[in-house]
């Protein structure tokens, strides 16, 4: 039987292969695609108060089927500069976080991968260790460090480096510190797994051909770890765009991010359709880097085949 037909044969569905492949797809369809379609639909409806935060697309009245698609939300987002600027600032913060994570994470992953094999599991553990405590707790802890009378300012004042506290909390600086801190492991892990697999013979071959260590790093190590760099950057960049908790706790009035706007539309304005519109546009923005990532991966696969 051709394999295409086999897919429709209920007897084979439960057999290993299709079951294994099918389960995550089913999961994603149920808990990602369906909710997304609901949100997508919601973005074209009108807000209705009194218990029902959004209206219906299709109504039935007096023998008419009414289809009302409201595109005003999208128009509004396109016209209102505030949304545009917020998206832009979200992308900027996400990009900055990615860059800082890369600058800090690459050497980190590099030395982890070049450490003695017996030491590597310990180093790996230390990267994972923060995950053992609550995310919220860790972000709160930064509050304690960064406030005007927090650990950092007290320390700097006690050694006489500064006379009055530096205002860090609720500024772009505190936001960046928090974001980089939270997302650093997501950069390190894919980079590490890429670098640890790299064949040291390439580095020896480069040295043999007269390449000094620093040149070898830029000409061989970095290009060969490109897929790790891209994977790590995606893992940081994409969730950063929609990040809500860190900007909420460590950000300030200057650091408007789209996650915050989303929250406000949902819970302050109670305008679910508008919130849904904001979410849909955000998803479209995220699709771009994802598409680039996918294309690159496909190329890599093609090159290996």
């Amino acid at each position: 039987m051709p394999s295409i037909l086999k897919c429709f044969d209920p007897r084979s569905w439960l057999r290993g292969r299709y079951f294994v492949i099918g389960t995550p797809y089913l999961w994603l369809i149920l808990f990602f695609l369906v909710p997304f379609l609901i949100v997508f639909k919601m973005s074209f409806t009108e807000p209705v108060n009194a218990g029902n935060p959004f209206g219906q697309l299709v109504t039935w009245a007096d023998g008419f089927v009414n289809l009302r698609i409201k595109v005003a939300n999208y128009e509004f987002i396109a016209e209102d500069q505030l949304y545009f600027l917020t998206y832009l600032s979200s992308i900027r913060y996400a990009a900055l976080t990615t860059v800082f994570c890369l600058i800090i994470g690459y050497p980190f992953a590099y030395f982890m991968a070049r450490a003695k094999p017996t030491l590597r599991p310990t180093l790996m553990m230390m990267v994972m260790l923060p995950f053992w405590t609550s995310f919220l707790l860790r972000v709160y802890a930064w509050k304690g460090i960064l406030t005007n009378h927090g650990l950092l300012n007290n320390f700097l004042m006690s050694i006489g480096a500064i006379n009055s506290p530096i205002h860090i909390m609720n500024t772009p600086v505190s936001l960046m510190i928090g974001m980089v801190y939270v997302y650093l492991p997501f950069m390190i892990l894919p980079l590490y797994s890429n670098l640890v697999k790299m064949d040291v013979r390439f580095l020896e071959a480069a040295a043999d051909l007269g390449s000094k260590p620093w040149t070898t790093f830029w000409k061989i190590t970095v290009p060969l770890s490109k897929s790790g760099i891209i994977a790590g950057s995606m893992l940081v960049f994409i969730p950063c765009i929609g990040e809500f908790v860190v900007p909420e706790l460590l950000g300030g009035p200057q650091t408007l991010m789209i996650g915050r706007v989303l929250w406000d539309e949902f819970f302050s304005n109670n305008d679910w359709p508008m919130a849904a519109t904001v979410a849909v546009v955000m998803l479209v923005i995220i699709m771009f880097p994802l598409a680039i990532f996918n294309r690159y991966q496909a190329q890599e696969q093609g090159a290996k085949a």
């Binding site: 071959a205 043999d208 051909l209």
Partner: protein, 377 residues
Amino acid sequence: MQQAEQAQARPRDDVAQDFLVIQNVVKSFDALRAVDDVSIAIRKGEIFALLGSSGCGKTTLLRMLAGFEVPTSGKILLAGTDIRTFPAYARPINMMFQSYALFPHLTVWDNIAFGLRRDGLPKAEIAERVDSMLKLVQLHLKGYGKRKPHQLSGGQQQRVALARSLAKRPQLLLLDEPLAALDKKLREETQLELVNIVERVGVTCVMVTHDQEEAMTMASRIAVMSEGKLLQVGAPDEIYETPNCRFVADFIGNVNMFNGRVAIDEPDHCIVDTLEGQFYVGHGISGTKGMDVSVGIRPEKMRISRDAPDGAYNHTEGVVENMAYLGSYTVYHVKLKTGRICKVSAANTQRHLGDRPTWNDRVYLSWGQSDVVVLTR
């Protein structure tokens, strides 16, 4: 191929002729002595093979020449300069790696140009040299230069690796198991082609291999290593015909080894008593009477016959227990009176061989007085 001269294990006094001198080099990894007091002198323009089974230290020695390992003690002199502590990138030495280590993200052309670019040569010269290298290894057609390494066959990758290691015109070329990644037929074709290219370029070459046939085909001299120690250095025929110890005799080719004791030792001959009879050897040995020695005879040096040979020495008898027809020759496994098996090979020089011994025949084995090697260690 170059005519091999008198070989020696130690550097000679007239160092001028010796291009690469390895002097008492030791490399220890913790308690293990991977390379144990090795001294070799390699002449300009020769192809020199380090031969041994895995773990014998040959690769470690090669890596010390390349600069990837620093000797624990000893000297490595290249054209008179001690390069022992030079970093790999500062040595006028290039290596062709086992399974090539071609940079997967660079094209063939850029792989070959990599070393030239590090030297900061002008663009035009780089282009000229890369093109001439591609021509040298016959990959200058069909746009091979623009391909990535994974788009090439194993044989083509091997040639790119050779071109890359020759592009900088190194004073010394290192080959690490140069043909191990190729299949048998291609390997045989490539052996002589590789020698031709290396000799045309005129570069001094040190290769590492575990394949004795490869070493004997390609190298003008061979160093046999075992457990970090250098056992013998010599031309292929010397190593084969006059091994200096049991290990070398056994490692290179097949040998029938008999243990015995020196009965008579005269300047022009000696006689060794063994369980299989008395061996008359046509030269004296630097030993004493009563000394324990081994005598070795190569299978092809033995004659097999149904007729009893004359004389008191240099023959024994047995029964053909097994025989293997291998095309160009036949190998007989003859069970001697003492119960041990002796291998004898007979060349099949004619299509129809008449009355040859066969299974279960009673046969006599005989050999000439100069066909035996006496080994004291």
